[in-house]
């Protein structure tokens, strides 16, 4: 029903200097549009981009990974890529400070993408805070395939919900949860999950957000007949598979658990394969 998650090492990745076309502040986030040309042809929802930050004399030596929110081929500029960036640390703050016309050193597309169904299924998209970014482009693709697309967005407070109006356009329904009740319903994004999956006969859950949210979704739906594809956010030094820092414990079909790289075997993974309880520890060696 859902295509297998594609894993091939950096097959479509290309490095280029992309011109920043616009940078708009949207609540706690920045919507950044880059002109990336033909690269959009190989970008799929779930893929990410690795961006050099800080300028040529920066003390920041590592790229920052950002989920690609959307791509477009039809705009007046050719291929464009939209990023939703929260100015959290020094790298993302630098990116959010860049102005129109700036040349940004990017490598894209990287990582696995969400499996897109060939049939018009019922899909539930769940985004936690900053993690909603790749779900909007995914929603567009699913809608074009005739899927029913419902979306749940959650955050600690309303300012961390990215562009709810934007979200509404590409989905059948949008429900917002905030922990402080400042927007939508009070509570966590997972608080009504089991009922929603049952009532709406959800076939596939697509999620992106903090590890605790992805882990909670996996646990809640483990006995339901639903596929859970999640995009993980683990800190990376390289984004291209050579540094081995972004690993997660993942169970293979034969039951063995290994530390796999979330940059090339992710960020999109089947949630039921991730051994969330082992994150932060090391699995037993199986001989």
């Amino acid at each position: 029903m859902v295509g297998t998650i594609m894993a091939s090492i950096n097959k479509n990745a290309a490095q280029q200097h992309a011109v920043l076309l616009s940078n708009k502040r949207v609540g706690a986030y920045h919507q950044i549009i880059l002109n990336v040309g033909d690269v959009v042809k190989s970008c799929r929802p779930g893929n990410f981009v690795a961006i050099r930050v800080g300028g040529p004399s920066s003390k920041m030596i590592l790229r920052r990974a950002f989920a690609i929110s959307r791509t477009s081929e039809s705009s007046q500029y050719g291929g464009t890529m939209e990023l939703i960036v929260a100015p959290h640390g020094s790298g993302s703050s630098w990116l959010c400070s860049q102005v129109e016309g700036a040349e940004i050193d990017i490598i894209a597309p990287l990582g696995t993408s969400f499996g897109i169904p060939t049939e018009p299924i019922s899909a539930l998209l769940i985004g936690g805070g900053y993690g909603s970014a790749p779900l909007f482009g995914l929603a567009d693709v699913l809608k074009n395939r005739g899927c029913k697309v419902d979306m749940l967005l959650g955050a600690s407070n309303g300012s961390k919900i990215y562009a709810p109006m934007e979200g509404k356009r590409s989905v059948n329904s949008l429900k917002i949860f905030t922990e402080d009740g400042s927007m939508g319903e009070t509570g966590r994004v997972t608080s009504q999950l089991v009922d929603i999956v049952r009532d709406r006969e959800v076939d596939v859950i697509y999620s992106c957000g903090p590890m605790a949210m992805l882990s909670a979704i996996t646990e809640l739906v483990k006995d339901l007949d639903v596929i859970h594809q999640c995009a993980v956010e683990e800190s990376m030094a390289c984004g291209i598979g050579i540094c081995m820092t972004c690993v997660l414990p993942v169970e293979a079909e034969d039951g063995t658990v290994s530390m796999v790289r979330s940059c090339i075997d992710g960020p999109v993974m089947d949630g039921s394969n991730v051994r969330w309880e082992l994150v932060g520890s090391v699995p037993e060696v199986q001989q």
């Binding site: 090492i9 950096n10 050099r52 030596i61 790229r63 990376m236 972004c246 690993v247």
Partner: protein
């Protein structure tokens, strides 16, 4: 363009009896086994691929978080995650040789015997150019197991590998700068049979998260790499080249430009590995190689070997052609 830029520079170099068309290599642990970087440049275009240090058995490594960026550097705490020597020799080495890459296999062990076991497997593997014996990984469980901070342990590891592997395959011993006198360890491993030295491994460090108020890395300590450690590498290479001028050195530590590579070469390195720079720029190895060629030409060097250790010459003798 200056006159010198038109002079072709012979970049070829040797480590023991192994010949390489260029002195610019990947660094062990920073290029996996080459497949990831092959999307960005042909692996045969650089001097050699130095593969990630491999142990006898598959290994998960250390828990996450495994990384912390630091000013002009980073800490890593991977802990030698890898497939084990058998899977590595079956899957990775043949693929690298198919790419016509020159291959230096890096090995790591927890015991002196493990290094010998690994050497035995490599002895019967055709096509590899050299073996790097990593006796200085800071991310093994027991800090006391860093062989290269102990003269006797270092010698015994290299001696065991030399006896097992025979006289053909060059042995490059990878050392840590975290010692009182690196020339003492260097002299010891050369006496025990090392043909060349890899200087330097990462420098042991720690970052404390001021929100959790605990060490940030899952393994608590990690290896510091990147431009922050380059002066440490230059110093170590300079000291060892002064003490052992005939022993070839594969230099590494924060090299991210041709200028940096030249600095290590002038200090005494015959080859230069590029590690952390590849994380920020997957084609760093290629641009460094091109920049180095231009810098050597601009200084009137017709061959790389003329520049090796040049910083040790008295000023009055400078300019020798």
């Amino acid at each position: 363009m200056t006159l010198h830029n038109s002079i072709p520079v012979d970049l070829s170099t040797t480590l023991g009896n192994a010949w390489f068309p260029s002195p610019i290599f990947t660094a062990s642990g920073c290029a996996s086994s080459g497949k990831e970087l092959a999307q960005f440049f042909p692996l045969k275009d650089i001097g050699a691929v130095v593969t990630k240090s491999v142990m006898t058995k598959p290994r998960h490594g250390r828990p996450t978080p495994r990384m912390a960026e630091t000013p002009s550097g980073m800490l890593n705490s991977i802990g030698l995650q890898g497939p084990g020597i058998d899977a590595f020799l079956t899957n990775d080495v043949p693929w690298l040789l198919e790419q016509k890459a020159r291959v230096i296999v890096s090995i790591a062990g927890e015991t002196i015997e493990e290094y010998s076991t690994l050497a035995r497997k490599l002895r019967s593997t055709p096509g590899i150019s050299a073996v790097e014996v990593n006796i200085s990984c800071p991310n093994v469980e027991n800090r006391g197991m860093v062989f290269a901070s102990n003269l006797d342990h270092s010698r015994r590891v290299i001696d065991g590998v030399r006896k097992t592997i025979g006289g053909e395959l060059p042995i490059i011993a990878k050392l840590t700068p975290d010692v009182t006198d690196i020339t003492e360890i260097a002299t010891g491993v050369v006496d025990a049979g090392a043909d060349a030295l890899a200087l330097i491994n990462t420098v042991l460090g720690m970052v404390i998260n001021i929100d959790t108020m605990r060490p940030h890395l899952g393994g608590k300590t990690g290896g510091l790499s990147g431009p922050a450690i380059r002066p440490v590498a230059v110093r170590a290479i300079y000291q060892v080249h002064a003490a052992l001028p005939k022993v070839p050195i594969l230099g590494m530590g924060g090299v991210s430009s041709g200028r940096d590579a030249l600095e290590l070469i002038l200090a005494g390195a015959s080859g230069v590995s590029v590690g952390t720079a590849s994380f920020g720029d997957p084609t760093a190895v290629i641009s460094i190689q091109n920049e180095l060629r231009a810098l050597l030409a601009a200084r009137g060097f017709a061959t790389l070997s003329q520049a090796v250790g040049f910083a040790h010459r008295e000023l009055s003798l400078g300019g020798e052609k």
